[in-house]
Symmetry: D3
Subunit: 159 residues, 6 copies
């Protein structure tokens, strides 16, 4: 069984993330969406909330699991017997940082491969932080995130 891991902060999950997860789910036997527990970075939603929002929105895709991790990503892959890391790409600077991470991960574990997939061009400008910025100023985020995430963001920012 080929297992791939799709890591990220998902604070919160966007339609761009879901687009990549759905594409990846067709290519591998199992895709594990792995939410990073990053203690040093301030997140808007707690780890539990981020995992929950992903779970609800990935329910329809049979071979997708949602989990969380802290520490090194490659340790999480070993634990899950996974050998592939999936990264969605939007832009060149994305690519360079991801390339650096991919080479480091390959150094740390030669059996692990990173593959890059392209976000749908209609989500090419989308990021969690930009969505939060727009929501904070009461801009319309409809269509950028799942409906239930839109509701959660509105609650947070008292809209």
């Amino acid at each position: 069984m080929r297992i791939a891991v799709c890591p990220g902060s998902f604070d919160p999950v966007t339609n761009g993330h879901l687009d990549i997860i759905a594409r990846a789910s067709k290519m591998f036997d199992k895709v594990i969406v792995a939410v990073l527990h990053n203690s040093s970075k301030n997140s808007l939603f707690t780890l539990e909330e981020r995992v929950e929002m992903l779970r609800i929105n990935c329910e329809g895709i049979g071979n997708v699991e949602v989990d969380s991790f802290s520490g090194l990503l490659i340790d999480f892959l070993k634990l899950k017997d996974a050998h592939v890391i999936i990264k969605g790409l939007r832009a060149v600077s994305d690519f360079e940082y991801e390339m650096q991470m991919a080479l480091m991960n390959r150094k740390l574990d030669a059996d692990i491969e990173t593959v890059f997939m392209m976000t749908s061009s209609k989500y090419s400008y989308l990021s969690s932080s930009l969505v939060k910025e727009v929501a904070r100023h009461k801009g319309c985020i409809h269509g950028l995130v799942p409906n239930m995430v839109e509701e959660e963001l509105k609650k947070r920012f008292n809209i």
Copy 2:
């Protein structure tokens, strides 16, 4: 009347900013320089000081106004009946971030267009933060900012 908005932090205005503002003023009936009131980011100069420095240095250009805004840029444009956002470009990483912002702004309001203009090549290395860094260490910033801004920076850093 075609109105364009040129947004930024302008902390402080540089000769590169003024170069773009002057170029834009020839292309549109009115150019509104919009200083971002960003409460979370530490600025060296207050919003009032940044606006004032811009006003003094744009005085010679008849169709330029200086104003400030907080919140979403597109809301400011609606308020001012403006339909064009002007961004100066220096480098590729500038461009990618700005492209992301431009696509998001277009999503938020389809009537608003972002246009990119090139800074004069002699200012291609210039940014407010780099100017402040040089001034802080008592390096010469002559020719990088207007004279009165140079004086203000010297005062701040006790030079």
Copy 3:
């Protein structure tokens, strides 16, 4: 009256080109689409055919004219009393080449400004040469070019 020139080979015009032309037409009093007569480069369509396809597809936009030029672009601008060059951007390598051209044109005539506008993200992968490549191999180009251009391409490649 503010006149802008939108230059290119347009061999043939795509929906990405028309997207930029329509956006530009809202920003300037007149937009002149200028088809390059490039004797050294092999084009699929003749200069006359390229101009004609543009004319038919720009008919609905009142302030757009279609013309052709050879030689230096800035000489064409002077002839037409235009001061702005409009370039659509898709990618970083586009941007760098265009930046080089923009600086050279500014050197040749300091009164001329180049502005960059972003193609709709749904056309971000589109180019005339890619469209021709797909059509040559009988791939579906529907939605990438105007219908009449699609018909012309099919005729050329005996589809």
Copy 4:
């Protein structure tokens, strides 16, 4: 069965290509290396020679097949019942061109996904054309291509 296609000119195959093919073979049930029959581009080796060199060098990898194609890549994928295109990446300009191709291929067939994999950093400077250029001037290409390809190149350039 998940089938992926790894397309290219392979004129000739390099150790960088073989690195990507080997990595891909671990991720999919079958990898079809697809040599492009490009009538317009001058190749050093004939289509048959390029296919043969790949076959010999992929012999050790059980789930790799070598084939050739002309026309649209997506038509070849349909014929082979494959749904994934694999592209090796070295640099940013690679990435942008490949991104454009990937989006066009997705438009032509929504069921087809392009995934990008990173070449080993030790091959990051390697390309078939650069290898040919070095061999032509009798430079040492040992370690850049398989030994039998090295021999063939030496024969061609009378070394």
Copy 5:
């Protein structure tokens, strides 16, 4: 005597840094490795520790000196009668930031030249911050930093 300065935070020195320092030492009569005393940025190792680790690891190279500086880099160069700044490059975004700094430094002192050298491709993914991140999570950093630096990092993170 041609003196070059190789500036950086070196928190801590990596094998990529040492690769660049060794390459530079062959090109100039003296290379001064200049450790930045940056009071605002949190460093893992103190200035003294960073200098010491560099000194021990550069001992074998006769014409390399290790020193520290605060303030403007060009003032340090003047003090040392040096005219060349050496920067190692890995990626495009590196390059753009460094290009901006190089042009600013040239503006501040026209006699000073910045030269860029390429890190060995085997260190293309290496940075001090990434090494610290891996070490913090108890990942293997062997081969990425000198052995004594590896020991220091393990001590810091209680491995």
Copy 6:
């Protein structure tokens, strides 16, 4: 004695080339400008003419020699007992191609180092091919090339 080689087509030499040559001449004991004899590429000026134009314009710089080469650049360096290749940089795409060449040259001869220097920002848009394009259409190239090269270009294009 430290000898550096500055290779190129120089068809013809521009003020940007001379800027880099002058900067390099201060850093090395001898700089050899090496004009590529490229039989396959059509050049406007013959090898002899290109060498001659460089010689005349480098006369004032004592430690600069002009020569020509064909074949591999590293073989030319060995012949001249040189260990450094100097490349001027303008843009990102420049950088990527040059990085590829630099790594290949390092593979071919580990003793040879490539260093990158930045063109003056006022020449950041300049290239021989763009200068020829402008001259061909009778545009003003004053200030872009040395006066005698300007005269030669005018003669060629009957201006």
